[in-house]
Every structure is written in structure tokens, then in C-alpha cells.
Amino acid sequence: MSDAASLTTAPVPQASNAATAQPETMSWDSRSRRMVVLWLPLACFVIILLFPFYWMAITAFKPNAELYDYKTYNPFLIGSPTLAHIRLLLFETSYPRWLTTTMTVAVASTFLSLFASTLAAYAIQRLRFRGSQYVGLAIYLAYLVPPSILFIPLATMVFQLGLFDTPFALILTYPTFLIPFCTWLLIGYFKSIPYELEECALIDGATRVQILTKITLPLAVPGLISAGIFSFTLSWNEFIYALAFIQSSEKKTVPVAILTELVTGDVYQWGALMAGSLLGSLPVAIFYSFFVDYYVSSLTGAVKE
């Protein structure tokens, strides 16, 4: 961000160049041009990216009469907001159950993968050994294996292990896409912690385990938070495993349950569907809003590593 700021204040050559220059280097008198090339497209992007959420929210609170009648009611506003759809969702479906299941699965798999990937990242980055970089590369490659080609063999495995239709099927399989990501992120993070700190501790007679728990981990807390948030959202959003491994209605996760349990018959209850989508998105959106900066840094950090 500071780079962009300094770019703006960088000396700008005179008019001939400024007219064809990029927006950040334009002079003061071309404010209208800045409006057209910067603010207008940006506004379009924001509107397009947010419109489905607006529509989701507005549908969730509209009474059915307004929902299907655009002629008499302005479709972009709510005439008389109602909580009927939310009530239907909360009290006439097992939505609270789905929510707790999803929460349990997401938290458990996040902790499991954080534990495993912290140790792995520490071993790869700090306990340098012959071939450690190849282990790192192998873990990175594991991230490139998409769930779509694993779910069929995993389904047979889950059957044989007797985990089918239990939350453990999800808690144990989600780390397959969480661990590679978290490990890669934490390797990058550990790299930024000065090695001298650990050497000092070694000289003072600390054991390796003490170094990990008392020096490296406390310093890596921001990295752990980023990895944790990212894992939590990824496991909250996971769909294909939850669809394939869970059968009974009350054990489903929110995304799967809304699609398979609320879509019934030929007439879709759009109000309830949108209410479900809204409520299913809110926890992760709220969680995200608290940690935006960690999230962005983990997203961009993982890409840059």
C-alpha cells in the first residue's frame, strides 16, 4: 500500500505525458478523467460483486406476496419485512443441528491440521535435514490434488473404516486440503523469525521442544491465526466430501443441507432458501470481518511463497 502511495506523490511530468499516463500519475486537473477510468469501473465491480448478497438478504426478509410480484412492489426494496422465512428455517428444519455439526467439524479439522502442519513446518524450516526441501515440495504438490478426484476412493475408504455418516469422516478428510496450505503458509512464517533467537536459546540450554513451545510458537501467533482462519473458512465451505460421506439429514453440514434438504418438490421456497444461505454465510462472514487483515495476508502470503 505504501508503494502505491509513494507512487502517487512521485513527481509527475508535465501535461503531455499526464494525459496518457496511468491514473495514479495524473495531474490534479484531470479529475473527471479519474472519475471515468477509476471510480466508475470500481463502482461497477463492487456492485456486481455484492449484488447477489444484497439479493440474498432482501429475499430472505420479503413476504411471499412481494417475492413473486414485481409489478406492484418495487423488487429492490422490502415493503413489509418479515421473519417468517427465518422462523421456518430455525424452528421447522434441523438448521440449528446443521449449524452445530458444521461448527464442530470446522473447528476440529482446523485444530487437527494446525497441529500437524505446525510441527511439519517447524521440522522442514527449522530442523533442516537432508531432503527437507523435497518434503516441502511434496506437501505443496499435495495441495494441487483436488478433492474432485479423491472423493470416490475416499468414499470407499470411509465405508470400510466404518466412518460413513459420522462427523469423523469429515474431520479426518478435511486436513488433506488444509495441511498442505497451512504448512506452506507456516513455512513462510517461520522463515521470517530470526534463527538467532533459537540459537541463543540453544546456548542457554533449552531443549528443542522448549524452543518450539516457548520461542518459535509465540512469535508465530499471527501466522497461526492466519492459517487457522483460512482453514476454518475452507472447511466451512467444503461441499463435495460432505455431500458424499454424510447421508442422514440431521448430520449434514450447512451447505449440503440447504441444497439437499430445503430444495423439495417443484416449487422452490426461495424465501427459506435465501434465508438459509444468508444464515449459512453469516458466521463465516462475521468471522472473516474480524480477521480481514490476517486473511488477506495469508491469501497473498501463500501465493507469494
Partner: protein, 319 residues
């Protein structure tokens, strides 16, 4: 007093280190212990299923019955299956158009965000929303937006603007449905591309632009000869990820059309699911899933060489 009590304790400390402590300080053991959970989980639930999936593709396993080796029969069947060819075509088409759209719009958005803006971090947070909300849930919102009768787009174009006389047919027939799904995929992919590329843009040194400005370059020249080459390594990585996860996409299609109308929008992943899980033909489903692997290997090699080239360019140590 403190000196007399602390001194013996200090001397005796090494003696208290029993064999467990010494074992945990022995580097080879520690390496094994640290790597065990991650490697164990990945081996059990990733490497083994990958092999198992390839093996299943050569058997006629169905749900509830372990199959026998049938050689290439599944693949021979697929080669004659028009639905499989259709899924291959649509997977490639979907990946191609959606990736192009995502990167064109995402790069544009990243360049816009790279300006000096007020509320920048707020804007960035808002823009990432489509990416963090569960895909299936936003897909359901798109499903509602694409409703044949009550689509708000139809309302806008027919009743407000008067550009059309009939409702837009978003997901009722093959080609419109294909493009509607691509539109939803682009919508969902823009934030990731934009934010990743923005991070790349911010690492480009402003002095390069200053030098180019002094040399009298135009805006396009600066983009073409500074921004784009400097962005290329990160662009290559983000694109590899995007291609892999678009090609193997499942959620959007499953949520909005479930492969319909008349199987015209099946991707390989949704076809594999349909044959494998509800259809019960695990062997055939696995064969469809395995047929995605050559493409993924290609994309991975692309990523690896892009990474290698970046390190070579920056003269980084090989870690």
C-alpha cells in the same frame, strides 16, 4: 539465601534430563515425530486414495460389492460415451472461458485497487466477500437470480428497460445454461485473482515507473514492459491454481443445474459424482475422475517451471 538454593539446582539440572527429554532433543527422532502427523494424514487420506482411485478405475466396483480387475474396459466405455465427451468438452470450455474472464477482470480490478484510494482496506475486504462465502450458498443465490420466471435480470430487461419481450432463459437450455454457469464462476473467481495480483503489484518497485516516466513512456508501455513482466511469476502461479480448481469444479454446477438441462452442463467432476455416488458405479466414476489427471499433471508442471524460473530470476537460495 537465594544463592545457596539456586546453585545446587543449577548443577543438578542435567542429571534430571531423563531419557525422554534426551530422546526429544535427538534431532532425527524429533524430525520423525514432527513430520509424522502431517505425513501420516496425507499418506492415509490423500496418497493412498489417489492410488486406490486409479486402481478402482480399472475395476467394476459398485457400491456394496468389491469389483474385479477389468483392464481398460471402463475407459473404452467412456470413449464411446457421448456424455463423457460432452463433459470433456464443457470442462475445457468452462475452464478456458472462465479463466480468461477471471484474469482479465481480476487484473483490471487489481490495477484499479493499486491506485491511491480512500477506504482501501475496506474496499479490499468487501471485494473478497464472494470468495469467502460458501460457494454452494452463493450458487443458490445465482440459481434464484437465474430463475426462469422471477429472475431480477429478466424483470430489468423486460419490464424496466424494455429491451426484450420475453424472460431471459438462463438455465433452461444448453448454451445459455453453459454461459450462465461460466458467469457465476467468473463472479466467484474475480476476488481471489484480484487480491493475489494486487499483492504482486505492490511488490513492484515504484522507481521502475519513475525511470520509465522520465524516459517518456506511455501508460500502455509501462503496463506492457514493467507491470506485466514483473507480475508474470505470480500470475503463472495464481493461474495454475485457478485452472486446476476450475477444471475440477463441482459445487457451482451441482448446485445450479446438476448437469442439466439434458446433461449439457456436466463437468467431469459432476459426471463422476453422478455415476459414482448416486449411480453406484464406483469403478466408472473413478475412471472419469482419473481421466482428469493428465490435465492436472500438465498444469502442475506448468506451475513448477514457473516457480523455478522465478527463483532463477531473483537469484534466490534454493529453499
Amino acid at each position: 539465601m537465594s544463592a545457596t538454593t539456586s546453585a545446587p539446582a543449577w548443577v543438578r539440572r542435567p542429571a534430571q534430563q531423563n531419557w525422554v527429554v534426551r530422546l526429544f532433543d535427538w534431532k532425527p527422532f524429533l524430525i520423525v515425530i514432527c513430520l509424522a502427523p502431517a505425513i501420516g494424514l496425507l499418506m492415509t487420506f490423500l496418497t493412498y486414495p489417489l492410488g486406490l482411485g486409479i486402481w478402482l478405475a480399472f475395476t467394476d466396483t459398485t457400491i456394496g460389492r468389491s469389483g474385479v480387475w477389468v483392464g481398460l474396459e471402463n475407459f473404452e466405455y467412456l470413449l464411446e460415451d457421448p456424455l463423457w465427451w460432452n463433459a470433456v468438452f464443457y470442462s475445457v470450455f468452462y475452464t478456458g472461458i472462465a479463466t480468461f474472464g477471471k484474469f482479465a477482470l481480476g487484473l483490471w480490478l487489481a490495477l484499479l485497487l493499486n491506485n491511491h484510494l480512500p477506504f482501501k482496506s475496506f474496499l479490499r475486504a468487501v471485494i473478497l466477500l464472494p470468495w469467502i462465502v460458501p460457494t454452494v450458498l452463493s450458487a443458490i443465490a445465482f440459481w434464484w437470480l437465474y430463475d426462469p420466471q422471477f429472475s431480477i435480470f429478466s424483470y430489468l430487461f423486460v419490464d424496466v428497460l424494455g429491451w426484450r419481450t420475453t424472460n431471459i432463459d438462463f438455465i433452461g437450455s444448453a448454451w445459455p445454461a453453459r454461459f450462465s454457469l461460466i458467469g457465476a464462476n467468473i463472479w466467484r473467481g474475480i476476488p481471489f485473482v484480484a487480491i493475489s495480483l494486487l499483492a504482486g503489484l505492490q511488490t513492484i518497485s515504484p522507481s521502475l515507473y519513475e525511470a520509465a516516466l522520465l524516459d517518456g513512456s506511455t501508460g500502455w508501455q509501462r503496463f506492457r514492459y514493467i507491470t506485466f513482466p514483473m507480475l508474470l511469476p505470480i500470475l503463472a502461479i495464481v493461474m495454475t491454481f485457478s485452472i486446476i480448481f476450475t477444471f475440477t469444479d463441482f459445487q457451482l454446477v451441482y448446485a445450479i443445474t446438476r448437469g442439466g438441462p439434458v446433461n449439457s452442463t456436466h463437468l467431469l467432476a459432476t459426471l463422476a459424482f453422478q455415476r459414482g455416488i448416486p449411480g453406484g458405479q464406483l469403478g466408472e466414476g473413478a475412471a472419469i475422475a482419473v481421466s482428469m489427471i493428465p490435465f492436472l499433471v500438465f498444469a502442475t508442471l506448468f506451475s513448477y517451471f514457473a516457480l523455478a524460473r522465478r527463483k532463477w530470476q531473483q537469484g534466490e537460495a534454493n529453499d
